[in-house]
Symmetry: C2
């Protein structure tokens, strides 16, 4: 990326703030728009951003060579639709959203022909939010996934990779929108459904004193941002419903072995899960 | 416990070895029986045990005032049935098993009238096994649950509490056999069923590079000792089947909200799980 590349970050929470921190540390000019002035003031005082606004300010928008969207999924679509008229010719737009089809496909359909949207998913996060908790070193152990479509150009794709390298991501990869959303349904969304469901099965808060690491580890992600995750799940409804059904069928398979006292089948299932899980330890 | 109390540990693995370490450090005489001579040699060289045998040696058995059973659940029952004739009059027997009804009720039915079996569950463990991994400091952050029945005497119950205090457990409590097994079904066994089932749903080992902390935390316990856990699950079949059914019903409730795009119900479920899970953080 050229040193003069001018960035605008839309949504300066934990992730947007971490982008601002990393990009400013690398010497780039970064501006930001966020509804919450405290996020903006914090980042300005930290030297991560220069100009900022609590509204979609045309003056800020038209300066940007690259716009990074770190707001809720549906807000990205609405915001671009409402404000693309202000954007500089040949500007590149990218995002940080955890689902890709509903965002990338939708934006690419209505986007001005002289602009380009390249989807990306930095797989990083914390249990806390807001720019004051931002920390670009989060990225140094994280995956960055680029999700190009046939509407993307080599220039747009290269920008996404450059951005990931500048921010110091540990591992870069490329998936189609469908591959990404299918993968994220299983490794992230289904695990959240399971943790939430376990906490909702019984009110067992009186059992807290008896819970060990296994229960606590399994349910940590049951503390969840209800607005963000409802959007993410609904945008990936088809794959997630399929994964829930596959998991529920496998649960019934285990249940049947237990109900029949089929210890050989139970042992086989335990050996299989042990063997598969060991491959995640390398 | 009197300083002359003579202990015999049957099964000198991770837990049995940690008991031997803690009791010998407190000045008690400890002997041990284990099928694996390496466990015995390791503990003897560490000074945790004095006499030992790879077989149920009558000479060792008849010296013991307290026998601690740290072998597989069904082995406890068989071992006591086969060897109770050697035991000293008024000896007290206790165990470390993670389910209680099938063990305590069964043993108490056939046990000699001059002996007493008091059930106990030290809620401690590690992902590794064997005496060489024993560490009695495991107990200093763990719960110890005593599960008396109407067949137990104040002397037997007091022995279990004394043992827990001597070993330095962080928290002591008392539950009926039924209360214990119902609790353990939900906070431990169901979580293991879920982790195993998630690993068995798809062969997704090719997705390892994309998994974050949430997936890894949730599935860590899918690495599981198939022989031990098959016994534990079958001994708690009724409660565990009920918990699986309750969890499966709650999963279908979430699935329905997602399939119908009922974002209000999804948000309500997320808020409820968040609120409940927060109570486990205190």
């Amino acid at each position: 990326m050229k040193k003069e590349t001018h960035f605008l970050i839309v949504g300066l929470g934990l992730l947007g703030g971490s982008y601002a921190q990393g990009l400013s540390a690398a010497g780039y000019e970064v501006d930001a728009i966020d509804l919450d002035e405290q996020n903006l003031q914090y980042a300005a005082q930290a030297g991560w951003i220069r100009q900022f606004s609590v509204e979609p300010d045309p003056a800020l928008i038209q300066q940007a060579d690259v716009l990074i969207f770190a707001v809720y999924p549906n807000t990205i679509v609405d915001w671009i639709r409402a404000n693309q008229s202000w954007m500089k010719k040949d500007a590149i737009l990218t995002d940080v959203t955890g689902v890709k089809r509903g965002i990338v496909e939708t934006v690419q359909q209505f986007l001005r022909k002289d602009l380009e949207f390249i989807g990306a998913h930095p797989m990083a996060g914390k249990e806390v939010s807001g720019a004051k908790n931002s920390d670009s070193s989060l990225f140094h152990v994280a995956n960055f996934i680029v999700t190009p479509t046939e509407k993307n150009t080599p220039r747009g794709i290269a920008l996404a990779y450059d951005l990931a390298k500048t921010l110091g991501f540990a591992h870069l990869s490329e998936l189609s929108l469908q591959q990404h959303d299918k993968m994220i349904s299983f490794v992230s969304q289904l695990t959240h459904v399971i943790a939430v469901t376990l906490m909702n099965t019984h009110d067992n808060t009186h059992l807290a004193e008896y819970t060990g690491d296994s229960f606590r580890d399994l349910t940590r992600i049951a503390k969840i941002n209800e607005n963000l995750w409802t959007e993410l799940f609904l945008l990936n409804q088809d794959y997630l419903l399929q994964d829930i059904d596959d998991f529920a069928a496998e649960l019934q398979h285990f249940r049947k072995a237990l109900a029949q006292g089929d210890s050989e089948e139970m042992k086989r299932l335990f050996r299989q899960s042990t063997q598969r899980r060991q491959q995640f330890d390398h």
